[in-house]
């Protein structure tokens, strides 16, 4: 807890040192986010499919908010793209429409589809390639922690996905 307090204090001190208009967004000290353990991942991609089902009503990995990539033939190297719910959320920072905001209840950054203009500034800003413009809805789409019961974490058979910051 001490680190968090220190971090909060640090954020506030930075905030104080910045010009007034840049501190309109809330300072997020402890968002909840999913974390992925490469060593445990079995590349079954259940998390990807269940995410797509939860958010699009279809089993469409191409529309999921978490991606697992695996090279099946040469070394079975697995990589994952998923949202860290960054405290300083570059996606929210980059959004000209202020469509991405931190939700205190879910403790995650959520996209307001009404405000989103699908400009993809957030896509470019995200260092984790974890936000996309959905080809069907044509709005930015990212991990919303399923509003509470996080499906990808629940379905993961090897516990490679966990929730951090709960």
């Amino acid at each position: 807890m001490r680190t968090e307090e220190a971090l909060a204090g640090f954020c506030q001190s930075i905030a104080r040192s910045l010009p007034e208009e840049t501190v309109t967004k809330p300072v997020v000290a402890n968002p909840v986010h999913i974390d992925w353990d490469k060593a445990k991942c079995s590349n079954c991609i259940s998390c990807v499919v269940v995410c797509a089902e939860r958010h699009t009503g279809t089993s469409a990995p191409s529309r999921a908010h978490i991606r697992i990539n695996v090279d099946l033939l040469t070394d079975n190297n697995v990589t994952a793209q998923y949202c860290r719910q960054c405290a300083d959320a570059p996606c929210a920072e980059a959004c000209p429409a202020e469509a991405i905001a931190f939700d205190e209840t879910v403790r995650a950054w959520l996209v307001d589809e009404e405000k989103c203009m699908a400009c993809a500034a957030c896509v470019d800003a995200c260092p984790y390639e974890a936000i996309v413009v959905d080809p069907v809805t044509n709005t930015a789409a990212k991990c919303d922690l399923c509003g509470g019961a996080v499906r990808c974490v629940e379905i993961c058979p090897t516990k490679a996905l966990v929730l951090v910051g709960v």
Partner: protein, 671 residues
């Protein structure tokens, strides 16, 4: 408002290699009648493979189908089923099936298809390239002669790393009857020799990229359903034998437990392991990378068993990779051909093996065996026909064949006689015997549900004592209606019920599609009564039904769902009857194999027993009666086929004089 339909992708992709024509047809009606996968295959076989067609004829259809749950979040799913005429099947090259895992099936669905049906034959090597709705046949002369690994690598280089490919190796090209269709580094439609069907059609590969999605009829409820099932399946202590995923297992060569198939990390088996850069023994300058799963591990030998050869881990891994690359059937090699050759050699029936000794402890010997088979060199020309045919061709060791091969040209599997690694005792292999009798191949690929489930949970197999025999019988009563179906002292009593029930479950698994090792869910040590249930009370054996219902939106009862499986089972039988005159007399061909004394002893009996012909004959009567089939001929009656919505099938079989209106039950065979 029309009710939402989901699960199925909606289209069949049809390809005629003779004309180069490619077209699509709607698939949902196939799905609503025959579920998907193996069910679609059976209907197309009935409609389009007339009697007289042989596996290598252009008229033969190669049907590769996914199912309504393939590519969804259904836990332990992700497979596809290959259906076609089987070059391996003996004595008749009849219609059969084989399931294949990895990521190909889901990708096919994401591309928008439930199945691909290939007919005709190309005059030059081609591969089918499917990219969502863009499909074309492409020249494969550059790929011809390459193994399954290089073929996949080249196609990934050409079309992108997310392409999933079914490929044949040199074995399939050379029409070996034990050739597989492969994907990834360890997955295969292995049994049946289907790689040779692709070879005869000069179809080197089917490469697919799918970037779309599958609609789900009720996503909210489906998601909750798969969550419940995942929880039941993935929580610790599934099955006592295999449940431990030891984090401290050696990480040499980067060993990792990986999914065999998309969505399939089965805590029951935990059999699939991936290794990187394992040095070769036969080819020391090579390094091998890939997965080994289940029987491919056996190429290295299993010390302390009948398969006690030992080529070391590196040698066994190398052999698994080499044979997968050539595209030959691991089960045939490990459980049939090699032990048969060794026994022939030891007994002096085989003086030498093309001038050399038969030495299963030598990785070099295995490697030379593979090359002989794949390129049909020396005695390999005969062995490429499969071991059962080879014994006849070579005129060697035919009398030893029944010791390793159960029936229909396939090596033993959970039969207590031919298969010497999976421990099973009387009376449990009676159910297996019925499954083999009614089958077209080794029926265990989707028929593990009875034998393996019971033996794994039993005190004989589980290091910690399992559930105990009495508990197993109690749980089984929930499923089969009687404890006698699974009690160790029950003998011939109530064995037809589980054979029929698992026959249907096998169809369901290969049609929806889900993994054979994980379903149907029956036993558990997470519930007080040891009957598997999800947290919300959903019974284990109903998992497939609920996922099917919610994904597809079909409003049917569980009984009607099982009726769909029964429809497919009868349709497969109808194809057997029309094209190969299948009858009870053919079914009974399994009897001699099972009449030998079993490999292990039931502790309640105290000595090994073999099949009693008269008692088994009565059991077969019971089986046919339960199925509504004629007891004398072992064929469905007209009434039964009509009841199952197969009136057109009944009509054709009647016209040909192959089936009767109803059957008469003789006094002796009354159940």
């Amino acid at each position: 408002m029309a009710k939402k339909t989901g699960g199925w992708a909606g289209k069949l992709l049809r390809v005629d290699l003779s004309t180069g024509k490619i077209w699509t047809e709607p698939s949902v009606e196939y799905g609503r009648q025959y579920i998907g996968g193996r069910g679609i295959g059976a209907r197309i076989a009935w409609d389009e493979i007339p009697a007289g067609v042989k596996p290598f004829d252009p008229e033969n259809r190669l049907i590769v189908s996914a199912g309504p749950l393939t590519g969804t979040s259904a836990p332990n799913s992700g497979r596809a089923t290959v259906c076609t005429l089987s070059p391996q099947a003996y004595p008749c090259e009849w219609f059969s099936y084989s399931s294949i895992g990895n990521y190909w099936g889901p990708t096919l669905k994401y591309a928008g298809y439930d199945a691909i049906v290939v007919q005709g034959a190309s005059d030059r090597p081609v591969y089918l390239w499917v990219e969502n709705d863009k499909t074309r046949l492409r020249d494969a002369r550059e790929l011809w002669g390459k193994g399954t690994f290089e073929t996949q690598e080249r196609l990934a280089a050409e079309h992108g790393p997310d392409v999933r490919t079914l490929a044949i190796g040199q074995a399939g090209e050379n029409c070996n009857r034990i050739a597989i269709i492969a994907t990834g580094t360890a997955s295969a439609a292995g049994q049946g020799g289907f790689g040779a069907v692709m070879g005869a059609k000069r179809l080197k590969a089917i490469a697919v990229r799918g970037t779309g999605g599958i609609p789900i009829a009720d996503p909210e409820a489906f998601s909750e359903c798969t969550r419940q099932i995942a929880k039941e399946m993935h929580a610790p202590s599934g099955c006592p034998k295999w449940s431990t995923l030891d984090p401290d297992l050696k990480r040499e060569f980067g060993q990792r437990f990986v999914a065999c198939s998309q969505g399939c990390v089965n805590p029951i088996c935990r059999l699939s392991r991936y290794y990187i850069n394992v040095p070769g023994v036969v080819y020391p300058n090579r390094k091998y990378t890939g997965m080994v799963v289940c029987e491919s591990s056996l190429l290295g030998g299993a010390p302390g068993t009948y398969y006690d050869w030992n080529v070391g881990f590196e040698g066994g891994f190398e052999l698994a990779q080499i044979s997968q690359d050539y595209g030959i059937n691991h089960w045939e090699l490990g459980l049939g051909m090699a032990p048969w050759l060794r026994k022939c050699y030891r007994e002096g029936l085989l003086k030498d093996f093309d001038g050399a000794a038969v030495d299963l402890n030598s990785a070099h010997w295995w490697d030379s065996l593979f090359r002989k088979i794949v390129f049909r060199q020396g005695s390999g020309a005969a062995l490429a026909e499969g071991c059962v045919r080879a014994a006849r061709i070579l005129g060697v060791g035919e009398e030893l064949i029944p010791e390793f091969f159960t029936a229909w040209g396939f090596a033993g599997h959970w039969d207590g006689h031919g298969d010497k690694i999976n421990i099973i005792v009387f009376p449990y292999w009676l159910v297996t015997a019925l499954q083999w009798a009614m089958g077209t191949r080794d029926p265990m690929a989707s028929g593990h549900g009875y034998a393996q489930n019971i033996m794994n949970w039993s005190p004989m197999f589980s290091p910690d004592g399992g559930l105990g025999w009495e508990t197993i019988a109690d749980v089984a009563a929930n499923v089969y209606g009687t404890r006698q179906a699974a009690h160790p002292t029950s003998g011939y009593e109530a064995k037809a019920i589980p054979a029929v029930w698992h026959g249907h479950r096998s169809i369901i698994k290969d049609s929806v599609t889900v993994d054979d090792q994980a379903y149907p869910r029956i036993y558990s040590n997470k519930t007080a009564d040891h009957f598997a249930r999800a947290e919300n009370g959903m019974p284990g054996p109903s998992f497939e039904y609920h996922m099917f219902r919610l994904a597809t939106g079909m409003e049917i009862s569980e009984v009607e769902f099982e009726g769909m499986a029964e429809r497919v089972f009868n349709l497969e039988r109808a194809v057997q009857i029309r094209n190969w005159d299948r009858s009870r007399a053919v079914d009974e061909m399994v009897i001699p194999h099972f009449s030998a004394i079993e490999n292990w002893v039931n502790p309640y009996i105290g000595k090994g027993v073999g099949l009693d012909r008269d008692k088994f004959s009565k059991l077969m009567d019971e089986y046919y009666v339960l199925r509504g089939w004629d007891v004398a001929t072992g064929r469905p009656t007209v009434a039964k086929l009509k009841e199952l919505g197969l009136a057109d099938v009944a009509e054709e079989l009647t016209k040909r004089g192959l089936i009767k209106e109803t059957f008469e039950v003789s006094e002796t065979s009354k159940v």
